[in-house]
Symmetry: none
Subunit: 407 residues, 2 copies
Amino acid sequence: MEILKTLIKKSDTKIVLIVLDGVGDLPLKNGKTPLEYANTPNLNNLAKKSALGLHIPVDLGITPGSGPAHLGIFGYEPLKINIGRGVLEALGLGLELRETDVAVRGNFATIKYEKGIPIVIDRRAGRISTEENKRLIKYLSQNFSSIEDAQIILRSGMEHRFVVIFRFPYQISYEVETINDTDPQAVGKPPLKPYGKGKMAEKVAKIAEIFCEKVAELLKNESKANYALLRGFSVKPKLETFEEKFGLKACCIATYPMYKGLASLVGMKLIEFEGMNIKDEIETLKFQWNNFDFFFVHIKKTDSAGEDGNFEMKVKIIEEFDMLLPEILSLNPSVLCITGDHSTPCILKSHSWHPVPVLINSSYVLGNTSERFTEREALKGELGIFYAYKLMPLLLAHAQRLKKYGA
Amino acid sequence: MEILKTLIKKSDTKIVLIVLDGVGDLPLKNGKTPLEYANTPNLNNLAKKSALGLHIPVDLGITPGSGPAHLGIFGYEPLKINIGRGVLEALGLGLELRETDVAVRGNFATIKYEKGIPIVIDRRAGRISTEENKRLIKYLSQNFSSIEDAQIILRSGMEHRFVVIFRFPYQISYEVETINDTDPQAVGKPPLKPYGKGKMAEKVAKIAEIFCEKVAELLKNESKANYALLRGFSVKPKLETFEEKFGLKACCIATYPMYKGLASLVGMKLIEFEGMNIKDEIETLKFQWNNFDFFFVHIKKTDSAGEDGNFEMKVKIIEEFDMLLPEILSLNPSVLCITGDHSTPCILKSHSWHPVPVLINSSYVLGNTSERFTEREALKGELGIFYAYKLMPLLLAHAQRLKKYGA
């Protein structure tokens, strides 16, 4: 794909990428998927005059997490990029990451001492409540803020989960990703000591060890959460930005931290706005229209409905989006792409490997292949079934932002 | 695809892979292919509620032999794996290969001596009969059984073809595959001397040379088959097993030695059973149902009919399979896949490069895209056209045997 960079040309065309998270699905009601079942007059009209197809998020049969799935539609080969567990977790909690940070996922756990040796008896501290977690994180934050030259930043997640960032006054290298998890992955065993390969990793591992000791000391009177197990030591991946890779000034309009975080990894500008609804996002799109070339609009609730197995809710969100579609069309984008990052079939209540419908509307499509924006109608479309990371070149081409290759 | 191995999860789901050898075809009668012409009510029903598509055995335009074609549907990239000619030939004759073996394909040939130098005058010894071949191999086997530390194992093939295995008391390295063929590829020339690169290859080449001399001595009074030309020095390839690669306990239900041999290369358990018919194979499938996770059922006769250009016979075999399909369905496999290893169009009387229809039945498909399991209906399906070596990840996904990739 290095060739692509040599073909980028400047243009004043505008591209809108709408990601209906987890929109792809399987038949459930009357043999229909939510996209098929929903009443979508505006999407139907648009589909008839658009290019349709399906994208494979990562590879055939591979179910992606949100990280790889978004990197794919952003044009990055998801199998070639590793986003560490700690980094993803931090992004998901809305923490801004720097190149000087080590992000680590933590679990509160329960230990008891046998002859002075700590033994893990519950790796999740009885799944304490999120409120309990917040109380503990607040207490820990008040009682220590640094170890050696590392600033400690703590953030509560759900139940027993939290994130710790070790922020240093200098850039951190990938070698810290060699540090092992301290979670022994089984009860009845002592926590593992963190070790890293290389000088910087050794130093960070030592700090992490001290961190665990201090947490144990501070929480020694807690009945459940009296210890912390650490996993997924990782650094912010160094990715080419959207501007470097595609020559696009891009922004992200999203409501959930994870997606903002992923967009920020590729250098998109995060737009702050009030409200959590699709309507609010489209208002924001309108408001920012003159400021960017590329607009990533992330709609979360289709995925949440799929994860809950709530077919009716998924249909409702799709219909809500359909009603608002004319507002997007009124902006007259050069290229409008509507897709999902992956499928979240209601019958699976989880992400899946199934290809995801893609719609590209521009002046340069065949069109008239498909009656609707659905999984099965998309199969008839001119785009075929293609890898998600090829979507961006297609959008650039339809936006007349790519020069000819060769003479 | 190293990533796949990290995603394997255990499950008690069962996968059945039916390979109708060479099933793909081209239109011949009433513009129909054998799959289209055949009366297949059970396959039709199944197709309507299954995922369909076509696989490309090796690459666009590439006609595969049975070796690469099967490796592909077994999930191994056929262009990255070399199975030597000698090994394939040995597997085809039902010889069990060890890591201590060098397998070589032999041709009986006719030579005459000019000034004491042997000159090849017929590279195939007038295509002697298979019976004649068997008489010679029996005679040779009785008269020498070893050279230095190599045990000699001989097996007749068809007409002038045979296989010789040099079995050593130690492991043999790939370097023996550097040994050149002794066949000069033209009449009027002397046989070539075998040479190999590396110490072990040199030694094996020397033994092969002695072998040829001894054969010439023993057969000196034969009028036609008075010499042996050797080709395709090769060793059993070291492949990851199905269990290592996919976490599957797999078995092979096949009637022909070649396919059993290929299955054994990837570590499938070969099931012995009475009979050569599809019915016998399906009885065996039922009998073994509780013993394995993955069942490779190979049906040979579709290919044989294609090779013979016998359209009616191919239709008949497909209809025979269709009649027995309910027996397979009654086992209620989590995933049932029906496909071929390659196409064998009757009009070509040989393997071809054409993509092969694939049907995947499971609880997690869209379905309702295709009316039948045929080449043209498969084109409408949700699987699209994909490389054969991606089939296994798809089957694993549909069997819920893969974890999510990334968070």
